[in-house]
């Protein structure tokens, strides 16, 4: 019987300003730092065909100046105050966040409120950031093996264009963005009634409340943005495709399934199932394929968590000389086994301890707290889920895991993408080999990480990541004293 761990409850206060801005406060004096997170309810899901990449491009524009803050001064103000900051865009939302010495809370609120109310958009700034975004696309996607193939998987998995296209967008759509487009985007989506501000860390509650009201209360609300339809048809047949990749050194393949939205009972169960299937070296697929049959170099997977239909994917680098069809059959057999036999008791214990460990460990960071609180406030209107959501995972039973796998994964209702080295006019050689698992479509930060220098990073370690550890969570970064931002 696993021991009971007391996970500290964090005190949460929430209120809404007259203009609709939701505010969440979580006071904690453990360390003299404070994190502020501002979440806007706009992501790539809100983009229409011909305008892909806008939410992300717009995120860049938010750093280009507002009425009282010159272009890129945002970076300067935060850095000079001894802080770190960034922003990211996903299918679901655009977030902005900073962590500062505790006494610099007014600065953060001034900066965030100024750009919420009065963004300054010029053709020059737009052209400049379009270029930065296009270089980001080249860096992360076009100049890397496999990653564009991975985007193709999402196009195949989701039928609704709102869900299927990538957050980075296409070069053509980015080229066609105009200043008027950007201004309209701001008007519609960047309104206080479409946003959450959360503050976690070392502050005085009355003082923080006063500052929030001072800086945000006079920002006028806007009409609510149009609702977005993210519904998906239920697939009735397997979909298969081939993606030709000139930069891929060896072949790879990816499998994708549609799964129910976040915070539904099957979603919780599938999150835990994914952990059993491919997280860590005791996971079923790792043991079966990497260790047992030794046909696979690497296997990775993840869940793309959305408010609408979500996705579960598995990416495989097979070893050369192996039949891909056999590897795929092994994977489906393992899914079938989990779907019919369910998890073992030791596996449930593993899940329990992993959930608790992650739950406790993540809490150390004010940035993680600010971001998680903002997300629960934005999506669910319930920031208090920060303290209670873990229970929804802990109470999932083995039978529920079994049933969720049976319903959603042990099925022909899935997507298969082969990534083949070479150009399209080159016929693939017969058996397809391995490929490196592409990066999951984690929202990329506005500011890329500076290059890691060898001694600055501590010895290579595999971090503990629960399947439910989201990739845009506060990265406190064990920043080293030796020259990191």
């Amino acid at each position: 019987m696993p021991p009971t761990i007391e996970i500290p409850i964090i005190p949460i206060e929430q209120f809404t300003l007259a203009n609709g801005l939701r505010v969440v406060l979580a006071e904690d004096h453990a360390s003299p730092v404070v994190s502020v997170a501002v979440y806007y309810d706009v992501g790539s899901r809100n983009e229409r065909t011909g305008r892909t990449g806008f939410a992300h491009l717009f995120e860049h524009m938010m750093f280009q100046g507002s009425e009282n803050v010159p272009k890129a001064a945002y970076f300067q103000y935060i850095s000079n105050a001894g802080g770190t900051m960034n922003g990211t865009t996903s299918s679901e939302r655009t977030n902005y966040f900073e962590t500062l010495p505790a006494n610099q809370l007014p600065l953060a609120l001034w900066l965030e409120s100024d750009r919420m109310r009065s963004l300054k958009v010029t053709q020059e700034n737009l052209d400049n950031q379009r270029q930065a975004v296009q270089e980001e696309k080249r860096l992360r996607y076009d100049n890397q093996p496999y990653v564009n193939g991975f985007l193709r998987l999402f196009e195949m998995s989701f039928k609704n264009p709102a869900n299927a296209h990538s957050t980075i967008g296409s070069m053509e759509d980015l080229d066609s963005a105009t200043v008027d487009d950007v201004r309209e985007f701001f008007r519609v989506y960047y309104a206080p009634n479409n946003a959450v501000v959360s503050i976690a860390g070392d502050f005085d509650r009355d003082q923080a409340k006063g500052l929030v009201e001072k800086f945000f209360a006079t920002i006028p609300s806007q009409p609510n943005p149009p609702p977005v339809d993210v519904s998906e048809p239920k697939e009735v047949a397997e979909r298969q495709d081939v993606f030709y990749d000139k930069l891929a050194p060896v072949p790879a393949f990816a499998l994708g399934w549609k799964i129910p939205p976040r915070r539904t009972p099957p979603f919780y169960a599938l999150m835990l199932a994914s952990h059993l299937l491919f997280e860590g070296e005791s996971s079923r697929l790792y043991q079966k394929l990497v260790k047992g049959e030794e046909t696979v170099v690497q296997i990775q997977g993840g869940i793309d968590e959305r408010r609408g239909p979500s996705g579960l994917f598995i990416v495989v680098i097979p070893k050369p000389g192996n039949e891909l069809a056999e590897i795929r059959e092994t994977i489906m057999n393992e899914l079938h086994r989990l779907a019919t036999e369910g998890p073992e008791d030791e596996e449930m214990q593993k899940l329990h301890n992993n959930l608790v460990n992650d739950g406790v460990r993540n809490r150390q960071s004010t940035l993680f707290r600010a971001q998680q609180l903002a997300e629960f406030a934005l999506y669910d209107g319930q920031p208090e889920l920060f303290n209670t959501e873990l229970d929804n995972y802990l109470k999932v039973t083995g039978a529920e895991i079994k049933e969720a796998v049976a319903t959603f994964l042990d099925t022909e209702n899935r997507v298969l993408l082969d990534i083949v080295p070479g150009a399209e006019d080159v016929a693939p050689a017969a058996p397809l080999g391995a490929g490196e698992p592409a990066q999951p479509t984690a929202p990329a930060p506005q500011i890329p990480e500076p290059p890691a220098s060898d001694p600055e990073s501590s010895a290579k370690q595999t971090p503990a990541t629960g399947a439910y550890a989201q990739n845009d969570r506060g990265q406190t970064g064990a920043d080293n004293l030796v020259d990191r931002k």
């Binding site: 007391e6 500290p8 360390s31 003299p32 009282n68 970076f75 300067q76 850095s79 000079n80 001894g82 802080g83 770190t84 962590t99 505790a102 006494n103 610099q104 809370l105 007014p106 409120s113 109310r117 009065s118 052209d127 400049n128 930065a132 270089e135 076009d142 890397q144 093996p145 070392d202 006079t218 930069l247 891929a248 050194p249 060896v250 860590g280 005791s282 043991q287 170099v297 690497q298 070893k319 030791e346 301890n353 460990n357 992650d358 460990r361 960071s365 500011i447 500076p450 290059p451 220098s453 001694p455 501590s458 010895a459 290579k460 370690q461 920043d479 080293n480 030796v482 020259d483 990191r484």
Partner: protein, 472 residues
Amino acid sequence: MAINQNPTEAESFRAVAPEPLPPRPLNIPQFVETKLANGLDVVLLEDHRLPLVSFRLAFRAGDANDPANLPGLSDMMNALLNEGTESRTSLEIAEQVERLGATLSAGANSDYTTIAASALSVYSDQVLELLADITLNPSFPENEIELTRENAKQMLIQQRAQPNFLAGERTASVIFGQHPYAIVSPTPESLDAMSRDTLREFHRATLVPNNAVMVVVGDVTRDAIIERLNALFGQWQPRTPPQSNFPDPPVRTRRQAYVVDRPGSAQSNIIIANLAINRTHPDFFPMLVMNTILGSNASSRLFMNLREEKGYTYGAYSSVDARRVLGTFRASAEVRTAVTGDSLKEFFYELDRIREEEVSEKEIGDAKSYLTGVFPLRIETQEGMVDQLVQLKMMGLPDDYLHTYRERISAVTVADVRRVARNHINPDKAALIVVGDASEIISQIKPYTSNIEVYDTEGRVKTDLTDESVGA
């Protein structure tokens, strides 16, 4: 034109940045230290805020200690430590660790090797016993060696498809030369040559208690931990630690470009590099301040120039890579292929500027404010703190390093910044590494140096376009 949602009357309080609140003090805890009879140093910081514990067993020998004919031996050994011990199989280790919700792994950088474990503190005893088992009793099963070897060979193929790996590989090679810091990965030949006997002997020789520090941070108590460490590690015998007598790196006499031809590249990965300082060099703190101004973050000169002004790149940076023995200065970015030459122009402009002109009082004040301000973030979490303590011990920094860090930053002057920039940034003799489409970029590089070597992605020289040879 500023878009105001619906401009109300002027809110004049917004016109300037608000004043900060009164500063809040930072409490930097001090560790306690003791030594076991076999020489194992123990550093302990109790932290009972959350029920977590982190262990780092760190050894003052890293992959620079790999035999010259066996690059990657440390990595191989570390990868195999948790693939079997005298009493546990690979699967049993994985299952037992993961069942606790814990992590256990081993890895090395150039200078030190770390065996790391983290867990809920209620499982502290169990995870420490597992850490001891893989450290003291690894069995290096033949089948696991074979599997790890084959997978490592596949990963070499993957690495060569990644431009940032190629850039780092070429930089290390040309800057460090015969010094072992030049080695960044194994070769298929070295992997094939790593026998079980070699691994076992390397393990015995490298992981010795009297060359190691056990750092413990978290929800444990001193007496209990010391007792447990004595029980688990007390029988571990000291040995003469591995010696480090490394050949010197080459002395650079001229600026030279090294192009790694990657046809079809959408970008050029640029690194401009030269040797600089090691970790304990007296110029370390001025270099940190200088680097903050020049290129450590988004408010620095390189980022503001190459991205925010010119739009050449997603990010441009500089870094001070100060290792135990040697170090480098680097400036780098991934830029659109067509502006490779223009980017080099801006890089050299900024490198010259920071050497020739004194930085302003505002700039140095801002840089110091940044470095002292973000300092608490580095120790906000247990992982951050344990990392700092490992570095402190492994790099031979003073015990009060964390406590004096901020004042040492504050003491750096404008003259210091210029002095270290002039001494440790050498654009005229730098190595210029560019990974990209050679057919598009060689002509763009020529204005900056006519000494150009070209490599393929396997690391072999293609053509030498130094001015002595007949070049295009």
